[in-house]
């Protein structure tokens, strides 16, 4: 039940983001699903290993890989799926709690949460790096084979 709830919430959240980014109309549902799958990967890893950084990494990796595959399949730029897809993973909450700790003068907490927020952002980047460089090398190999 909790899983279904999380899926639905992240699905609609991603759809909202994709409309703000003015995504093509025929890709709205697809990009919502990509975002929800990324978030589900995140929660699955988080529940098992209780590490938000690892969870975000695998979430972003999932979004990247699915996005690249769909891009090839539907003949659209990969960013159409990846940009809305990573929005649920972006550490908005981390940013908020870091700022809150700073304002309440809990500097130790601020350092802790801030570092984690930074690592989460880096984890998103690395997830996308790996998926996009994978897709590039696959493309190169395919071009050579032709």
């Amino acid at each position: 039940m909790e899983f279904i709830k999380q899926f639905v919430f992240s699905f609609f959240g991603t759809i909202g983001a994709s409309i703000l980014f003015s995504i093509p109309r025929d890709s709205i549902i697809v990009s919502g699903t990509v975002g929800a799958l990324g978030w589900m990967t995140y929660t699955a890893i988080l529940g098992r290993y209780s590490s938000p950084v690892a969870g975000t990494f695998f979430g972003a990796l999932a979004v990247g890989i699915i996005g690249e595959l769909l891009a090839r399949h539907l003949k659209k730029p990969a960013t159409v799926f990846i940009i809305p897809g990573i929005i649920p993973l972006v550490p908005g909450a981390g940013m908020y709690y870091t700022m809150l700790a700073l304002i309440e003068k809990r500097f130790l907490d601020a350092a802790n949460i801030g570092t984690e927020t930074l690592f989460i952002a880096v984890a998103i980047s690395i997830g996308i790096v790996i998926s996009s460089s994978l897709s590039r090398s696959i493309k190169r190999v395919q071009n050579k084979a032709q």
Partner: protein, 260 residues
């Protein structure tokens, strides 16, 4: 075709390529994609021996060699507004242009039409801004009342940031005000009893401001060897995140001092 006509034609082709590049770049495409496309468009026509394009998030430089001449074009890009639909359409268009014998004038007309399309009107965008905020506050553990409060807060945040963007105000002030409005409204909503957790409402409402595009493009540019673009977009992401944090922080500080 005589020589002068051909020269004119080459110039029109260059203008077309740069126009296509400009539309893509100012709607948030990665720089390597823009470079690829400009080169493909230029190489698809006439006997152009050599094309080189250098694109950064703030400008496009193209030069091509045709016969004895070298022609170049420089285009400055000022505002960036994210519109993935236009990127997609120009991408399709360039594929179509390269594969067919489309007249250059017709192609320029088509591009101008693409530039004028508005995929969703403002009201839809405002509504979905509310939906982002509402569902993310639920996702981070908010209650049903928080859902309602962040729906209205999210709408206000998107309205404020869109209007400021239309006035041409820098993205720092833009995000700063968006975040400030988010926290101010959340505190007020909780005070009148609509919503229980101000933190969940604020987190949901700032999700429409977070620099997702800048992060994604910074990484993708860097990975394709465009370090200048990667750095400048990375900087954009960091500054955006800071401005959001400052906006939230300012209001929270005032709140804790007991002034609201």
């Amino acid at each position: 075709m005589n020589e002068i006509d051909e020269k004119k034609e080459v110039k029109r082709l260059l203008i077309l390529a740069v126009l296509a590049g400009r539309i893509m770049l100012k709607n948030g495409a990665e720089t390597y994609r823009v470079e690829d496309m400009i080169i493909r468009i230029c190489k698809s026509r006439k006997n152009i021996k050599y094309v080189e394009a250098f694109v950064t998030p703030t400008g496009i430089f193209v030069s091509l060699e045709h016969g004895e001449d070298v022609v170049s074009y420089l285009q400055r890009i000022n505002t960036i507004k994210i519109d993935l639909n236009k990127i997609n359409m120009v991408n399709d268009f360039s594929r179509q242009f390269v594969e067919s014998d489309m007249e250059i004038e017709e192609a320029i007309e088509k591009l101008k039409k693409i530039d004028d399309i508005d995929n969703y009107n403002n009201i839809t965008k405002f509504l979905f801004g509310g939906i982002i905020a509402a569902f993310f506050s639920l996702l981070f553990g908010g209650s049903f009342l928080d859902f309602l409060a962040s729906f209205f807060t999210g709408i206000m945040v998107v309205i404020v940031s869109t209007k400021l963007n239309e006035l041409g105000i820098t993205f720092f002030i833009n995000n700063f005000s968006g975040a400030a409005v988010a926290s101010l409204l959340s505190i007020l909503f909780v005070r009148i009893g609509l919503g229980a957790n101000p933190d969940k409402i604020i987190i949901g409402s700032i999700m429409s401001l977070v620099p997702g595009v800048a992060i994604t493009n910074a990484i993708r540019d860097t990975m394709s060897g465009d370090f200048v673009s990667g750095l400048s977009r990375g900087m954009e992401a960091i500054i955006t995140a800071l401005s959001i944090a400052f906006g939230v922080g300012m209001i929270l500080k005032i709140y804790f001092k007991g002034l609201i």
